[in-house]
């Protein structure tokens, strides 16, 4: 079992999806819950058998030959980073099933079936060690998501779904071109260990180190176009608010929790290793875009009137921090970035769950119609304030550590701290790393911390605190009812639809005097035990990661250090005159036995760690 555990993680949800299709519809939620729970349990098992001391290496690798003549194989394996993301995916699985139980009441077999398929595809992306498997899974996430949005979304769902599909699909096609080019290039080099074509990521990465710089830039551009759409990086983000707003709750949770991370994971896993020098060179541009996303996305959040759209735009801002940390290219920035992927999945996922719970009760997402719910729903409000604070980046909760590390990483990463180019930072600044960012990047992005407080407290100030406001006549009408009265910026087709529906009782809502007030929603006023049960694990994780992130930091340190070295050495290579012999291409595989290093690091850490000034021995020469 240990050998095929990763494949099982993909197969189990698929098997349950097939089983579900075959069983009567009333059992669909239960089967889906069983499937996701079983997968989650297998995930726990995986975490147990994974050797966390060697988290920088790929483990539990397994290969199932598929098309040997083409070098295509189902090759799987995980390191610390991908395993954490797999675990996040598996955790969100049962949560998404549980949060849909009351919300989805039509076509439930299709719904839960595709939910399971989606989970399999997402897991596949994170465990893939083979380009074809990666890309197939990466692309295949689109289909279930498209169906979830277009069939189970709210008013404007068709448009949102089509836009989501076409937008991300277009991006991925461009990325595919880049990936295929790398494979073609590798096939041409026929490095040892490969015979002709191969899609083994390790081999491709080693081969990619030989890419000439100008080609690297093209490869990077292609990959980034695909991944940046998914992230989404400004200005490729406009599908996101629409998709998020229209998606059913579980869809939003998966979108925010995992699907966006496919983009950042793609950058981390493919774009950087395939084109490290180009990444180092274009880091300032990418960082600039992410900073624009942070500020621009944040300010747009501030003027939203639709709670769900607000949280959706906040993802644009948040993921900006994530990409910023990655562009820093140093250990602290990359660690922050990887942590951000997980933390954002937890806190923003929880925010979408909370908003979904409100939507189920009041069928509105309009901030003007919701207010002071603390008086009505104290439990919900407590969770809301908690997760808002996690999202704001309050220290002690998870968001802080990743945010501060992303910013610190960007802050450090400047050649100007010292005397000059890559690799020669002056000894006087022991905390500086080479790079092309610097304090200004961190300072400007840091304004995003203030803006985050502005929009998230705007949200709590309106919805949680203040005088009690509830939409009149909530609780009647179907799924389509809720859309009316969104922010006035929405498309004309939407307003017409809303007006036609809401016409009966006055679109204003607040003063419409009609009889439906007695028509209570079928859910109790405050949260049910089921809903609390969904939120508690997320809250516990937010707190645990905020107060004791050490296990997670150590789970990713090896992979992060390798990636940082890759970028640093590529950058140094580039900064030197062409043909300079001292630096050899970055070794990607066969990371030196890290267990010893870790043991000594553990021993040192109490002593205060940051070994200031001892200028460390040439890294490349190991």
């Amino acid at each position: 079992m240990a050998q095929s555990i990763l494949i099982l993680l993909i197969v189990v949800p698929l098997a349950f999806a097939a089983f579900l299709a075959w069983m009567p519809r009333k059992h669909a939620p239960a089967i889906a819950l069983m499937g996701t729970s079983l997968a989650a349990l297998l995930g726990v098992y995986t975490a147990l058998i994974f050797d966390w001391n060697l988290s920088g290496r790929f483990q539990l690798e397994n290969t199932v030959q598929w098309l040997p003549s083409l070098g295509v194989a189902l090759q799987v394996g995980v390191d610390g980073v991908s395993l954490l993301l797999v675990l996040l995916t598996l955790l969100l699985g049962p949560i998404c099933v549980l949060c849909s139980v009351t919300a989805i009441r039509e076509r439930i077999k299709t719904y839960y079936g595709w939910l399971l398929v989606l989970q399999a595809a997402m897991t596949g992306v994170f465990v893939a060690r083979d380009l074809i498997l990666f890309y197939v899974c990466f692309e295949f996430t689109l289909v279930p998501m498209f169906i979830l949005i277009s069939l189970y979304g709210s008013t404007n769902r068709r448009r949102a779904a089509i836009k989501f599909f076409l937008y991300t699909f277009t991006g991925s096609i461009i990325a595919l071109a880049g990936l295929v080019y790398v494979a073609w290039f590798a096939a041409g080099r026929a490095l040892p260990g490969s015979s002709g074509w191969t899609f083994d990521l390790d081999i491709l990465m080693r081969a990619a180190a030989e890419l000439p710089p100008s080609t690297q830039a093209w490869v990077l551009g292609a990959l980034l176009l695909g991944f940046a759409v998914k992230v989404p990086l400004f200005p490729l983000h406009t599908w996101l608010p629409l998709a998020h707003t229209e998606a059913p709750t579980a869809g939003s949770v998966i979108l925010a929790g995992v699907l966006l991370k496919l983009g950042t994971y793609g950058i981390f896993r493919l774009a950087i290793p395939f084109a490290p020098a180009a990444f180092a060179e274009y880091a300032p541009m990418l960082a600039g875009l992410s900073i624009v996303g942070i500020l621009y996305g944040g300010l747009i959040c501030w003027v939203q009137t639709d709670v769900k759209k607000l949280v959706a735009y906040s993802s644009v801002a948040h993921l900006g921090f994530c990409v910023l940390g990655m562009t820093a290219g140093n250990e602290i920035g990359l660690t922050g970035s990887v942590l951000y992927m997980i933390n954002h999945g937890l806190s923003t996922g929880a925010l979408f769950l909370l908003i979904g719970m409100i939507y189920e009760r009041y069928h509105t997402r309009d901030m003007a119609k919701l207010g002071g719910l603390a008086a009505r729903m104290p439990v919900w409000s407590t969770f809301m304030v908690f997760f808002v604070m996690a999202s704001v980046g309050l220290p002690g909760l998870n968001g802080f550590i990743s945010e501060v590390m992303c910013l610190l990483g960007a802050f450090q990463a400047s050649d100007n701290w010292g005397s000059g180019a890559w690799g020669s930072v002056a000894d006087a600044m022991p905390g500086a790393t080479p790079g092309l960012l610097g304090p200004w990047y961190a300072a400007i992005a840091g304004v995003g911390m203030i803006i985050a407080a502005m929009y998230l407290l705007q949200l709590t100030g309106k919805v949680v605190w203040g005088p009690l406001v509830e939409p009149t006549g909530h609780g009647h009408g179907g799924r389509d009812h809720g859309g009316h009265g969104l922010g006035g910026h929405d498309s004309a087709e939407h307003s017409t639809a809303a007006a036609s529906h809401a016409g009966g009782h006055g679109a204003g809502g607040a003063d419409a005097s009609h009889t439906a007030t007695s028509d209570k929603p079928h859910l109790p006023t405050d949260l049910t035990p089921r809903e609390i049960g969904i939120l508690v694990p997320l809250a516990v994780l937010c707190l645990a990661l905020g107060l004791y992130p050490k296990p997670v930091l150590y789970a990713i340190d090896g992979s992060v250090a390798q990636t940082a070295n890759l970028i640093r050495e590529a950058g140094a290579l580039k900064a030197r005159p062409a043909g300079s012999p001292q630096v050899e291409p970055a070794p990607v595989e066969g990371a030196p036995a890290e267990s010893d290093g870790k043991a000594s690091a553990m021993a040192e850490e109490a002593a205060g760690s940051v070994a200031a000034g001892d200028a460390v021995t040439g890294g490349p020469g190991r």
Binding site: V303, L394, Q412, G431, P439, G597
Partner: protein
């Protein structure tokens, strides 16, 4: 869990402390020790959790209050124990809790730099820490006791919520003050901000309270950004965020700095304090970030006393004092601190003179006194600043709690034109005497603790070269302070007995006063409405109103604080030079290192550099400031007491029209809020809307356009568009097959 069980638990924990405490050695370099301090976060976090559980189990008693009082008293005991056993009092000790953000990248870090960061959950216990923690936990206990009675009409969910946040506040404050690194300090820093947010917004149905809470958090976040960047720069410069490493490294530059050779110090090092002080100014409500503090008075009064007067707002002073070695390394930092503090002190005092809401007056006086503390730090008397923090904590808590007692007893009435002669009302003696002692302290009445601490700052301002202007401005502010302080006392506590209840009159019987205040608008909305039924305060709609005299809990706390606000003067005479506070500061990072030999004249006995009108400032400042204080009190006496026959009117009324626009502007707080709104908030709001439009029309519009072109083309080949969802999947699989085919062809 009952109170008895809790106390047993506490005792058990205390015995544990005994054991661990004895093991602590006292070395000259940071050694392990002071383990008892770790109990403070444990107790307070436990309190938070318990209060949360009480809320969940719908406890409708004063159990949360007693739990809190007990746990905070235990925390205080832990600190007293640490102090009494001399752990950290002479040299710092480090109490390691657990690893927090702690990682090294071992041999992978090829560049050799920045390959690790350590910010652990451990405490740096030195004299400065203990000084702060003694009054934080001590006052916390007292104010929790006070709040047990003050909040009694909210018993139930609100009561639990209040005390949960209260505990969480002391937890955060202990992290802030005791952290051994800048990131844990930052945790406490933002943690107290969260608690402040939650407690200002305690009456959450009141829009003004919600707005004030939001404002406090956001304005503080602006400061926090400065602090964060300062911490980043510290990390980049020194490779660590731990105090022991940072201050040891900074020590390299101290000699050059004390000798005035700032050109030998890298600009990055000099920039650090300038960034840190932004954070300090945010948290401690200094220019230009002070605007949140007056609004924070929307919170319940115990909160105003603890968080927004005595403890949290002194965090900025703490930060500067803690990072004094860094501040000394910068040529500009301390002068900037001094000037910002002085100008804030003066500005806030002028606003305080023109307000009618006694709680707001106290809020502005807090801003003003915090300015004194910063000025003290800026003119190189960290001792004076620390002593003023301590005395201010006592007397300002006392003043707020007295105001709170009045507010509580008179149904939320805070307008000094609607209250008069409280002293003479039966049952109000303790409050009135407490108020008198507090006012005497605040106005620098001779021989009060506030007099001595303020004097230390004033004298040092005249001593320090180039700071005489600051000394004069602070002296002027002292006079204004004496005036507005006693204005409150003469208006509210003496004079004819006359009162009018506030807006919360009917609140006690129905659903809590938050709900009621909502219906009536804000409590403090009566800017110019004096005259209405003022002369008939005892009659009219208040005919059946009887002020509700404070009970034993409030009176006990007031009596203790009043006593402390007198006997704290004794601290000034403890020890040889500068008293107890000086002794504490000298054993901490806030100590002023001696100047190098060639600059010896600056310290020591000489004092040759500055003088007060040709006299030694240290010798004459007692008399000068006493005179200034008496003048202020005298003016207040003449304007607001002598010959006053009603609550609403006084001789000052005749003066206001003569001052015209100036008086009006001061009443409107110099329109600072309006200016900020016009210059910052509104433009940002407009910009956000523009961005929103751009996003919908331009960024998304381009995408839609790009999508529209193929769709239009696609109409021609419509049959290919099956519209079936599964078609996409099939299409993709097909595409992939084609791709593989191409690859296959390429290979063979």
């Amino acid at each position: 869990m009952t109170a008895t069980e809790l106390s047993t638990f506490t005792l058990t924990l205390a015995s544990l402390v005994q054991e661990s405490g004895h093991a602590a050695p006292a070395h000259s370099e940071p050694a392990a020790g002071g383990m008892a301090t770790l109990l403070v976060p444990v107790f307070t976090l436990l309190g938070t959790v318990l209060c949360g559980l009480f809320a969940a189990f719908k406890v409708k008693s004063k159990l949360p209050a007693w739990t809190t009082v007990l746990l905070l008293a235990a925390s205080f005991a832990a600190i007293v124990y640490t102090y009494a056993t001399g752990q950290g009092t002479t040299s710092p000790v480090i109490a390691h809790g657990f690893d927090w953000i702690s990682i090294t990248w071992g041999e992978f870090g090829s560049a050799g730099h920045g390959h690790g960061i350590a910010a652990n959950f451990s405490f740096y216990v030195d004299a400065l820490t203990l000084l702060w923690m003694l009054f934080v936990t001590g006052l916390g206990t007292l104010i929790a006791l006070y709040a047990s009675e003050y909040m009694s009409h909210d018993v139930g969910a609100g009561y639990c919520r209040f005390f949960a946040a209260f505990n969480l506040f002391v937890f955060s404050m202990s992290c802030l003050v005791m952290a051994d690194n800048f990131l844990l300090l930052y945790l406490g820093w933002e943690g107290v901000g969260l608690c402040s947010y939650l407690l200002i917004g305690y009456f959450y149905k009141k829009p003004s309270a919600v707005a004030a809470a939001k404002k406090a958090f956001i304005v503080n976040r602006i400061g926090d950004l400065g602090l964060a960047l300062g911490v980043f720069l510290i990390y980049v410069q020194f490779g660590s965020v731990e105090y022991k490493a940072v201050f040891a490294e900074a020590g390299r530059y101290i000699d050059a700095a004390r000798a005035g050779h700032f050109d030998q110090i890298p600009w990055q090092v000099q920039l650090i304090p300038l960034l840190l002080m932004v954070g300090a100014f945010g948290k401690s409500a200094q220019l230009p970030l002070y605007v949140w503090l007056p609004d924070a008075m929307e919170g319940p009064t115990p909160v105003s006393a603890l968080i927004h007067a005595a403890t949290m707002v002194t965090a900025g002073v703490y930060l500067v004092a803690r990072s004094y070695p860094l501040f000394l390394c910068s040529e500009t930092a301390l002068p900037v601190v001094a000037w910002v503090g002085t100008l804030t002190a003066l500005l806030a005092a002028t606003i305080g003179m023109a307000q009618f809401d006694i709680k707001r007056i106290m809020a502005y006086s807090t801003v003003s006194q915090l300015g004194y503390m910063f000025a003290g730090l800026g003119v190189l008397t960290s001792t004076g600043a620390a002593f003023h923090v301590l005395t201010h904590a006592f007397f300002k808590a006392l003043l707020f709690l007295c105001c709170g007692a009045v507010m509580h007893g008179f149904a939320g009435q805070l307008d000094l034109r609607k209250l008069s002669g409280v002293w003479k009302i039966p049952g109000w003696k303790v409050v009135s005497v407490g108020m008198l002692i507090g006012c005497a302290n605040l106005s620098g009445f001779p021989l009060t603790p506030g007099f001595f601490s303020k004097d230390m700052i004033l004298a040092e301002a005249f001593v320090t070269p180039g700071m005489a202007a600051i000394g004069w401005l602070l002296l002027l502010t002292a006079g204004l302070t004496a005036y507005y302080t006693f204005r409150v006392f003469f208006r509210v506590f003496v004079g004819p007995v006359e009162y009018e209840p506030g807006d919360e009159l009917h609140a006690h019987d129905d659903h809590g006063h938050d709900g009621h205040a909502e219906a009536h608008g804000t409590v403090h909305g009566h800017g110019d409405s004096h005259g209405h039924s003022a002369a008939t305060g005892n009659h009219g709609h208040a005919g059946h109103f009887h002020p509700h005299a404070p009970g034993w809990a409030i009176n006990t706390v007031l009596a203790i604080l009043a006593t402390l606000s007198i006997v704290a003067a004794g601290l000034y005479f403890m020890g040889d030079h500068g008293g107890w506070a000086a002794n504490m500061v000298h054993h901490s990072t806030a100590a002023l290192p001696p100047a190098p030999a060639d600059h010896a004249a600056e310290s020591g006995a000489g004092h040759a550099h500055g003088s007060f009108l040709g006299m030694d400032p240290h010798a004459v400042m007692y008399y000068v400031s006493a005179v200034v204080g008496f003048i202020g009190i005298g003016v207040a006496f003449w304007l607001h007491f002598a010959g006053r026959t009603t609550a609403a009117t006084s001789r000052a009324d005749a003066l206001v029209p003569k001052l015209g626009a100036v008086a009006r502007a001061a009443q409107h707080k110099w329109y600072v809020d309006e200016i900020y709104d016009f210059l910052l908030v509104k433009p940002l709001w407009v910009l956000s809307h523009i961005f929103h439009l751009i996003d919908a029309l331009l960024v998304d519009g381009l995408v839609d356009f790009a999508g529209w072109v193929p769709r239009t083309v696609g109409k021609v080949i419509r049959p290919a568009q099956s519209g079936l969802l599964h078609g996409y999947a099939i299409g993709m699989a097909g595409g992939l097959a084609v791709l593989l085919l191409i690859v296959l062809l390429a290979v063979t």
